[in-house]
């Protein structure tokens, strides 16, 4: 529909902001334009919206060069919502949306009833029909964004360009605007290109992402193919974890914990703590201990378990076992060594099955060897046991012997205390 072909562009006198950028915005699809600050996102929209003439390359609308058509002709096909949606005049919302009819109304003609109907329909689509008679000076930021989109829709465009449509909007309005755009895309077959700052929002709503870095297209494709930890690290210079949304399968980002460096940690006499966990129960305590500067080890965790993933991501020494497998003698021995080497042992509340029974034995062994053992969280031996009795017995014994700490903060306080 709208295609940038080998576009090099920049502002007068300056170095080029975009270098040989190719991009294609297809109908019925939201294409997200993402990238760090200063990567050329807004410049790309300005080039695509006929506001900035490329130095080299061309922008084609249905295979016609946009600089060979008049601004009016272009405005009938392409609507733009710029970052600044402020209207400095005391116009009614309806009058502002009617300005969207400008390219369709002849020079000395007046807007007709049909134009007014089109404007009202656009306001209804954006859920802003009730604002029609209000002054634009007296509506909120979220309402103004909807009015700006309604004005763009009144143009009846084939292509809609949005420059940060969710900037300055709260969570509810962000979702509202994005789902509005998505339904327009679906129902009217409009080609939408949106500059988005929030990568999670972009990955959740766009069918395609174009990643810009220093004015070049770094990646282009569906979010699941484009978003990766290495790309985010490379382009944004940010350590993030990429996970899948379990409901949609789309990627989303989480801030990654800082890496654990055994040599640097434990300075100032902080003890070495061994964490016995599993099933995702160890994450919070492991990252809290690392954050507080303790040296940590961990075991036995199954490969693929989120606790094991965390240990690997943070470089925490740990005893690992194959996925969904019972603890083998080798990994049990590794765990035992790590526990006995540590100054303290923490056991988290995990479910006990035949496979990980040995973890409890190691904890009790460490206790017998004189290591302080902490049991973190609430642990009801009857409920956590899936072994048919043996686990319950071990848990009851551990409950009696170990020091019980309800929350991580309490554990940290007790570990920090110099005396045992």
């Amino acid at each position: 529909m709208l295609r940038l072909s080998e576009v090099t562009a920049g502002y007068r006198g300056g170095r080029p902001v975009l270098h040989r950028v190719c991009a294609d915005f297809s109908p019925g699809q939201i294409t997200g334009v993402v990238g760090p600050n200063g990567s050329g996102k807004t410049t790309l929209v300005r080039v695509a919206s006929r506001a900035l003439r490329p130095r080299e390359g061309s922008v084609l609308l249905e295979e016609r060069d946009i600089w060979r058509m008049t601004a009016r002709c272009f405005a009938r096909r392409v609507a733009v919502v710029t970052q600044d949606t402020l209207v400095p005049f005391d116009l009614s919302v309806l009058d502002v949306v009617l300005l969207g009819r400008h390219p369709h109304v002849g020079r000395l003609h007046l807007e007709t009833r049909e134009d007014e109907d089109a404007a009202m329909a656009a306001l209804e689509m954006t859920g802003a029909a009730h604002l029609a008679r209000r002054s634009v000076l007296r509506i909120s930021g979220g309402e103004r964004q909807r009015v700006a989109i309604a004005r763009a829709l009144a143009q009846e465009p084939a292509v809609l360009l949005l420059d940060e449509p969710t900037a300055h909007l709260d969570l509810a309005h962000q979702t509202e605007v994005m789902s509005l755009v998505a339904s327009l895309c679906r129902e009217k077959g409009i080609a939408v290109a949106a500059v988005l700052h929030d990568l999670n929002l972009a990955a959740a709503w766009c069918q395609r992402l174009i990643v810009l870095a220093e004015g070049r297209v770094e990646a282009d494709g569906p979010p699941s193919a484009v978003i990766s930890e290495s790309l985010v690290a490379h382009v944004w210079n940010a350590r993030m974890w990429v996970r899948r949304n379990p409901l949609t399968g789309r990627p989303f980002l989480l801030p990654a914990p800082p890496p654990y460096e055994a040599e640097r940690h434990g300075e100032g006499g902080r003890p070495l703590v061994h964490v016995i966990c599993g099933g995702g129960s160890g994450g919070p305590v492991l990252s809290a201990l690392v954050h507080e500067g303790f040296r940590v080890t961990c075991g036995v965790v199954n490969v693929g378990d989120s606790d094991e993933e965390l240990c690997r991501a943070m470089n925490i020494p740990h005893a690992a076992e194959a996925p969904f497998s019972p603890i083998s003698p080798e990994s049990a021995e590794a765990n035992r060594r790590l526990a006995l080497d540590a100054d303290a042992v923490v056991v988290t509340a995990f479910c006990v099955g035949p496979g990980n029974l040995d973890n409890l034995r190691v904890a009790l062994e460490a206790h017998r060897a004189g290591r302080p053992v902490f049991l973190l969280g609430d642990c009801d031996p009857g409920k956590a046991d899936y072994t048919g009795g043996e686990g319950k017995a071990l848990l009851t014994e551990l409950n009696a012997r170990a020091a019980r700490v309800p929350v991580v903060e309490e554990l940290l306080r007790r570990l920090r205390a110099p005396s045992r």
């Binding site: 006929r50 209207v87 116009l91 300005l99």
Partner: protein
């Protein structure tokens, strides 16, 4: 394809009310002056001239008052509509037709022409033509100063207009200080007056540029509406900002230069009339330009009638009257705005 009823109503009101006022002002002005001419006699003279039954003797109504009133109406319409358009284009409530330096340019040209003794040659056309040319030259200078590679910079344009205007005023004052005997004649340019020595000629000279200016501004009225959103947003609605800026500046300059050449510098009309009309008919430039043009005409026709009628047979400069009326009215508008 019927026009929106709300818009049509607004346009009809914006044209009808000021048109009615203008008719009232026209007749009031027709029987105001140093020589008492009753309404019936005035209309009689007018009718006989229009039907071609008039004799060759000079008529106060036909040869003096009518062209004066028409010139005042034309000048008022151009100044007020030009002010409305420039305020919209420059996004500045202080903008008026003289902002770009056209008035000081015109005054310099007129002063030089008078000092050089050109006012008696070419049937009285030399002075207004000289004024017109220097007025255009002043704006041309401002325009070229504000030109950037990316287009015309509005703020630079405003600043350059003030500076160039001040410079031309200084040159005019310098010229005046050298030519004492012509000061009285030049004073009429500085203060504004419709007491032109050749009223029909001046009206004819001002009419064509004025008509082009008014028609051109109205042609661009909806573009000005879109432009009020800012250059970037206007562009997305199909407006070419650079073309619009050049067109509006050229059109107002053309019209204003013609007006100042014919009647001197008449202040405040181009500033307050658009502000008043915006309050009454809203910011849409279509009703705004129509009502501003008509009310601007009313204001100057009335001001000229006062100029002639206040202290006959002496005349008060019309620019003095517009400023004396304009300043308090403008202050009143300002105080209402804050409330």
């Amino acid at each position: 394809m019927k026009a929106r009823s709300a818009l049509r109503k607004r346009l009809v009101l914006a044209a009808a009310i000021p048109a009615f006022l203008l008719a009232a002002c026209f007749f009031t002005a027709l029987w105001t002056g140093a020589v008492g001419v009753g309404p019936a006699e005035a209309l009689g003279q007018l009718a006989s001239h229009l039907t071609g039954r008039a004799g060759p003797e000079t008529s106060i109504i036909w040869d003096l008052r009518l062209p004066r009133i028409l010139l005042a109406a034309v000048v008022g319409a151009v100044l007020a509509a030009g002010g409305a358009a420039l305020q919209g284009l420059l996004g500045n409530p202080l903008a008026e037709p003289y902002t770009a330096g056209v008035s000081s340019g015109c005054v310099l040209g007129a002063s030089l022409a008078v000092i050089l003794g050109l006012d008696s040659i070419a049937g009285g056309w030399a002075v207004p033509v000289a004024a017109f040319v220097t007025g255009l030259a002043a704006v041309g200078l401002v325009f070229s100063l504000a030109r950037r590679a990316g287009g015309l910079d509005i703020n630079t344009f405003l600043l350059a207009g003030i500076i160039v205007g001040a410079f031309f005023w200084a040159l005019t004052t310098f010229a005046l200080s050298l030519a004492r005997e012509d000061i009285a004649r030049i004073f009429m340019w500085l203060a504004g007056s419709f007491a032109a020595p050749y009223p029909w000629e001046y009206l004819r000279m001002a009419s064509l540029p004025a008509l082009v200016c008014l028609a051109g501004l109205f042609w661009n009225a909806r573009d000005l509406n879109a432009f009020a959103l800012g250059e970037d947003q206007a562009r997305t609605l199909g407006v070419e900002p650079e073309r619009l800026k050049a067109a509006v500046i050229l059109l107002t300059t053309l019209g204003t230069a013609a007006c100042v050449s014919a009647a001197g510098v008449i202040g405040f009309a181009g500033l307050i009339v658009p502000h008043g009309m915006r309050r009454v008919f809203g910011p849409d430039h279509r009703p705004l330009l129509v009502s501003s043009a008509l009310c601007g005409a009313c204001l100057l026709v009335l001001a000229d009638a006062l100029a002639r009628g206040l202290a006959p047979p002496r005349e008060v400069p019309v620019g003095v009257i517009t400023s004396i009326i304009g300043a308090p009215v403008f202050l009143w508008i300002l105080s209402r705005r804050r409330a």
